[in-house]
Amino acid sequence: MPCDRHAHLLSAYLDRELPDDEHEALARHIADCPDCATLVSDLRQTSSAVAGLGREPMPEGLSQRLRQSLEQASDASAPSPSQRPVPALSAAIVPRHWTASALMRQAAVLVFACLLSALATWWFVTGSARDTLLARDLLSAHLRSLQQESPIQVASSDAHTVKPWFAGKVDFSPEVRDLAAQGYPLLGGRLDTIAGRRVGALVYKRRLHLINVFAWASDAPDTPPTLTMRNGYNLLSWIRGGVVYTAVSDLDGDELKQLSQML
């Protein structure tokens, strides 16, 4: 068979369904290739032979039957004026029906409002508490990693080893870069648990300071880094590309910010 590469495109070429540049490239090829030119003309003939068949004509009376069945269907779903119940009856039925649905609507609005206020209260009461809880959890995880023999499960300074290691272990893909040249060598990665949730941890070093960069998926929009202090440790949090990052270290806050900018 001639020109394997093009055969499957010739049909789309005939229909002018290829992008302009591909179409022109193929047109140039066809001009030079007698096999493809023959195939194109064969396909064109086949195509017009089928087109020449035209539509299969409708059976006599089908159009009328279609109209009738649609009329019947619309009569069934929305009664026409002539088929409506007599006025006395409709007066008795329609308002009751209306009242019931209006009551339901009011009840729904009420329930919704209650839910909303309860949710707002809960948010207000627990919001700030939750942030401190999270910070405490992150700090504990950082301290835990310092006490362990090794803070890392995959030891590598190669970002292309560490990043794929997380695939299948967490539901997101963290930014992993080796910043040895900038004075922040990558030691490796680890899985950890924060607030009952599995997170990824990237471990960097700055001189003698160890830095844990925790990462987990989030729907929240991107936010710039914010620094908080807790028990003498710095916690720097930011959100980028649907991933929340928090760097925890006893390193100076400014140097931690430098790391966040390079990640």
């Binding site: 068979m1 001639p2 055969a7 499957h8 495109l9 010739l10 049909s11 789309a12 229909d15 369904e17 096999d35 023959t38 195939l39 064969d42 396909l43 003939q45 086949t46 195509s47 032979a49 089928v50 087109a51 020449g52 068949l53 035209g54 539509r55 299969e56 004509p57 409708m58 059976p59 006599e60 089908l62 159009s63 039957r65 279609l66 109209r67 069945s69 649609l70 009329e71 269907a73 619309s74 779903s77 026409s80």
Partner: protein, 186 residues
């Protein structure tokens, strides 16, 4: 005469196309008639959910689904060949093929044209359903690949490859039926 509903105004103009599509999917006029009736009723009931601008792809998708249900019921999902489809005489045609020649240039020409047409019909009817439907939507209804992909619920790339394959199969079948040289056929 009741005022036609919005649905009727939008959908009824496509009844010929809908019947033709159902016929080519089912290779049977009787089944196609049932399917079109069923599909139009379903479309009417689902019309509140229609949010598009062009009703045709939406309506055709419903016709197609109804046709496939019938095909499945028949327990023969592909390669339905019926002589009814291939040699069905159109309602306009009357009597013997010789009558056609009355206005034509010659009896022989008319016979040849009719024979060729029947061959194309048979070749199309013999095409597997997945190929036949894209060929019909493209060649007879003149739809774009995007519209066909909407109707068949497949990717545009799939439409492209099925159409290509379908035409190549048709070309080969026609070459075989007419006894033409097909040494360079795929």
């Amino acid at each position: 005469m009741p005022i036609p509903s919005r649905f009727e105004q939008l959908a009824l103009p496509h009844q010929e196309a809908a019947f033709s599509l159902a016929f080519w999917l089912l290779n049977s006029r009787a089944d196609a008639e049932d399917v079109v009736q069923e599909a139009f009723l379903r479309a009417f009931r689902a019309f509140d959910g229609f949010r598009g601008e062009d009703i045709r792809p939406w309506l055709f998708a419903i016709v197609r689904n109804a046709a496939y249900r019938t095909l499945n019921n028949r327990q023969r999902t592909a390669n339905v060949i019926s002589l009814d489809a291939a040699f069905h005489r159109r309602e306009g045609d009357t009597g013997t093929p010789l009558d056609v020649a009355a206005e034509g240039p010659s009896v022989e020409d008319a016979l040849i044209r009719k024979a060729e047409r029947d061959l194309v019909r048979l070749a199309l009817a013999e095409l597997p359903t997945a190929f036949r439907e894209v060929v019909v939507l493209r060649e007879i209804e003149g739809l774009s690949y995007r519209e066909i992909s909407e109707i068949t619920g497949t990717a545009v790339g799939t439409v492209m490859s099925r159409l290509s394959r379908g035409r190549l199969l048709l070309r080969r079948a026609l070459a075989r039926k007419t006894g033409k040289d097909c040494s360079h056929a795929l």
